[in-house]
């Protein structure tokens, strides 16, 4: 096993776990949103160590940047800074313990970290790595797959973003017009 990258990855993962638990325990929403930004940035670090450089800069820009800004602007718009005490925490803890134990049991059948013989590496990924240089002519295999081999996925993604954009406009644009409507004040 590749011990060097495994160790850096493990240290970042411990930081990630500590940040996530801190978010769960804090009742201050502003601190929670900022810690979520740190969480996203740390996960971008994990992605670099695990060779997913394209994913890392998307996560750093979109996850740590845009998502945190959206959360902060929601906190600013609603003016609510603190949350009240958790509802039924014991029932949630029981649910989380049961689901978590089942998932941990499931991980024993997973291929080990960095296993080159794992089933995920045996099928179409091998072909992308061997042929995409000749077929598409772009050195970055992730770009070739994203824009060419699986271009329809990316088209679907654009449709989803467009729908979400229309949804946000309908929800927020309408409420702003209603608030400034002079007939509403009477």
């Amino acid at each position: 096993m590749d011990i060097g990258s495994f160790l850096i990855n493990a240290i970042l993962l411990v930081f990630l776990a500590a940040t996530a638990i801190a978010v769960a325990r804090l009742q201050n929403l502003f601190a929670g949103a900022m810690l979520f930004g740190i969480y996203s940035l740390l996960s971008a670090g994990v992605f670099v160590v695990l060779d997913a450089v394209d994913v890392a800069f998307t996560e750093a820009a979109v996850g740590a940047g845009i998502a945190t800004i959206l959360m902060l602007s929601t906190i600013a718009l609603t003016g609510i800074k603190h949350e009240s005490i958790p509802i039924r925490p014991l029932r949630s803890l029981l649910l989380v313990a049961v689901v978590g134990a089942a998932l941990i049991y499931g991980t024993f059948d997973m291929p080990r970290f960095g296993d080159a013989e794992a089933p995920a590496h045996q099928h179409v990924a091998l072909r992308y790595l061997q042929q995409s240089g000749d077929e598409i002519g772009i050195p970055n295999v992730v770009t070739s797959v994203l824009a060419s081999y699986r271009g329809y996925d990316t088209l679907g993604e654009v449709a989803v973003i467009f729908t979400a954009g229309i949804g946000v406009l309908c929800l927020l644009g309408g409420s702003r017009r209603r608030r400034t409507d002079p007939a509403d004040k009477s």
Partner: protein
């Protein structure tokens, strides 16, 4: 070292369960969306961990390198990150709208108000 081979998956399960706890236990709608995002990022880490190959390098073709990590999970997760931020934006817009209609984003207060209305 084989015993450490599952460490990534265990941390992923821990992060996922932290997210699930926040979504189920927190009454605040903004906090619930933060929990959903934590859950979602843990799924990203699961996929990228599956794509890693020991002593491999990032899947950018270079002369003299023959061992690359799997590019397919990276492509799937790139799509998922962008879709994830779109759903987060829609969820937060709903929270703002609920706040202007009810004056609260606390789940129990919203339920009480709905029960009083009907």
């Amino acid at each position: 070292m084989q015993a450490f081979g599952l460490f990534n998956y265990w941390v992923v399960v821990l992060l996922m369960m932290t997210g699930l706890y926040i979504v189920t236990a927190s009454p605040n709608l903004i906090k619930k969306i933060i929990g959903l995002n934590i859950f979602q990022t843990s799924v990203f880490i699961l996929y990228i961990t599956i794509g890693k190959v020991s002593f491999g390098t990032a899947p950018i073709l270079v002369d003299g390198v023959s061992r690359y990590s799997n590019p397919l999970p990276h492509v799937l997760i790139l799509t998922a990150i962008v879709v994830g931020v779109a759903t987060t934006a829609l969820g937060l817009a709903l929270v703002v709208r609920i706040h202007s209609a009810y004056g609260s984003i606390n789940e129990s207060e919203l339920q009480n108000e709905d029960a009083a209305d009907s």
